[in-house]
Point group: C2
Chain length 354, copies 2
């Protein structure tokens, strides 16, 4: 009487293609400029904290489900209420928790396009609909905002792949027009001139706004999977019911706590990356690329005389990985701001190609 297991799967799951992460070669001498990793590695305090935590007694016991030490450290470092923080196994975990908390099956997620492709995957897994709204030509959100019946609005800010930012006034305008929570995905927020954390600082708590952050990019901890969301404490209380009890492990909690407590190191690394970004942008322009000035740790570019796909392939032959991104409306290369020697190598190869 048994069905085959495949027939038992939800049809949405069978139908979806799944999110494709950037290539992660596990061996070889590759210059990886494809997944916005940080070339400088984490704060030395992270290494020390991890080494101290590797004991049999720490590893054998469950972690603190609420990540209390991390939330206190993050609250102090960022000037926000620890009770407004939800811990996540990467900010993708936070996005999953938010989707499951706010979006019913057959519900609606809306997001500007082109943007982070995971939002569509999250809608598909949930069995929800996904609608996109095109950014304006100057990478703003359209006003008036055309979709008012969504359950959740995802705004990557800075946006990927464009590296552009929607400013506070524009976000206020958007907030006035929607009746669902606005999730501002600030994965790249530390590289930007402006972010939205002020909405939660100094005992404020912004109704209808949820900010997500990752430690993968600016804190250089992509390997340990840690992110967090900032929302009204009463919302965080509800989100905690949806998160897995032990979603963050003892080592990632240690690493994240040490990293967020070292804001001086963060500033130093971000300053270096922004300087290299500026050099990369002007070099790309010299080579004839069209670029969009970036407020993230990557640069989005196209070349009028060379297909992005062929540049991508040529670079790959030289062991340099960048991200070729294809949207219905846009196709281009998203190049991570690596170290200065890595960018030098990239530019040497690009000079041969274009």
């Amino acid at each position: 009487m048994s069905k085959t297991s495949l027939e038992s799967l939800r049809r949405q799951v069978l139908a979806m293609s799944g999110y494709t992460p950037g290539e992660q070669p596990q061996a070889g001498e590759i210059i990886k400029l494809n997944t916005n990793e940080n070339p400088y590695g984490p704060s030395p305090h992270v290494i020390e904290a991890l080494k101290a935590a590797i004991t049999g007694d720490r590893l054998r016991k469950y972690p603190d489900p609420m990540g209390t030490r991390f939330r206190k450290a993050a609250g102090a470092a960022l000037g926000i209420d620890p009770d407004s923080i939800l811990i996540g196994n990467g900010s993708d975990d936070c996005l999953t928790i938010l989707t499951r908390s706010f979006v019913p099956e057959s519900g609606l997620i809306v997001s500007p396009t082109p943007s982070y492709l995971l939002y569509k995957t999250l809608a598909e897994i949930q069995g929800a609909r996904f609608e996109t709204v095109a950014f304006t030509n100057d990478w703003k959100v359209p006003n008036p905002w055309p979709v008012t019946n969504a359950n959740l609005l995802y705004l990557a800010n800075p946006n990927s792949p464009s590296g552009t930012v929607v400013n506070s006034a524009e976000i206020d305008m958007l907030l006035g027009q929607i009746s669902c929570p606005l999730v501002i995905d600030e994965a790249y927020g530390d590289f930007s001139q402006e972010n939205q954390l002020w909405r939660f600082q100094g005992n404020k708590s912004a109704q209808g706004v949820i900010i997500t952050r990752t430690m993968s990019k600016s804190y250089s901890l992509a390997g340990i999977r840690f992110g967090f969301a900032v929302a009204e404490p009463q919302i965080v209380h509800q989100l905690n019911k949806v998160k897995d009890s032990y979603n963050c492990d003892v080592l990632s909690l240690e690493a994240a706590t040490a990293a967020i407590s070292d804001q001086a190191y963060l500033k130093e690394v971000v300053t270096k990356i922004c300087a290299t970004r500026k050099r990369l942008e002007s070099s790309l322009v010299s080579l004839g690329f069209s670029i969009i000035p970036s407020q993230a740790n990557f640069v989005w570019c196209t070349h009028p005389a060379h297909a992005s796909a062929s540049i991508y392939e040529e670079l790959k032959k030289k062991n340099i990985l960048v991200r070729l991104m294809k949207y219905p409306s846009h196709e281009g290369l998203r190049i991570t701001v690596g170290s200065d020697p890595e960018i030098d190598q990239l530019l040497i190869q690009l000079r041969n190609i274009v």
Copy 2:
């Protein structure tokens, strides 16, 4: 025009109470016998592998999304196809992935009771219904099995809190009567005389059966959050679309790979725990407790003359934590098999109490 964020939450999320994990005191001299942690710590190879992996370059880069090295090591250690393995951020993550893959909103999850309380929480988060079927008096699944319209059947085997096992013949009988996948949650499978992994060994691949395993208990790695599921490769392929791309971090992958490769250490630790379990069981019987012979790393007991709640409270005053578990049909104490000195301390206090 904005709603309050609380009003935007799915009503199922607002209504649910959430899973309550066992207490995890973060400080103090506590004898923790409440969450089935392993007193012996992980294999020394785990410590070595972690120490070697703590470099800035490993931490700054994303992990391998497919956990290929772990799956190969686990395949070799357990005699199963690496492509039949799904990696998870703890086996709870695997249970979440399975729920999202097979159970639609308003779908049905069924499970014997009393058992692991998370299954109900997973149904609630998904907006699905949850039905329980009582174990028989001798802790078997009833035959005939009464619920045939479920989307997923969860069977904890060995079961918590009872520590009892449903054997292969009984599982075959169950499989003949259901039309949905059977998830056999073998979190405690290494402590049992029999487990169901044979269904996937020697190039077999059991249709309609999915086994979940955790590294938290027998491998003593509750702190690092790692589990896995075993299913037909075509099912694993679909489940990978639902899991978060980077659900397991570089350090937990390293630890899990080293741990599963050291089967000799596993056997040594399991042998010690089973010997202590036998001593704990006979000592509890001497003290007048009713116990059920356990095939897990805990013992479920009640005392005819003392309320479980009062024994729990008295032990807690002496800094000994056990798990007080209340089901509509059963109330009792679930006591983790700790180290011999820990069990000695427990027995001294119990002698004073009963």
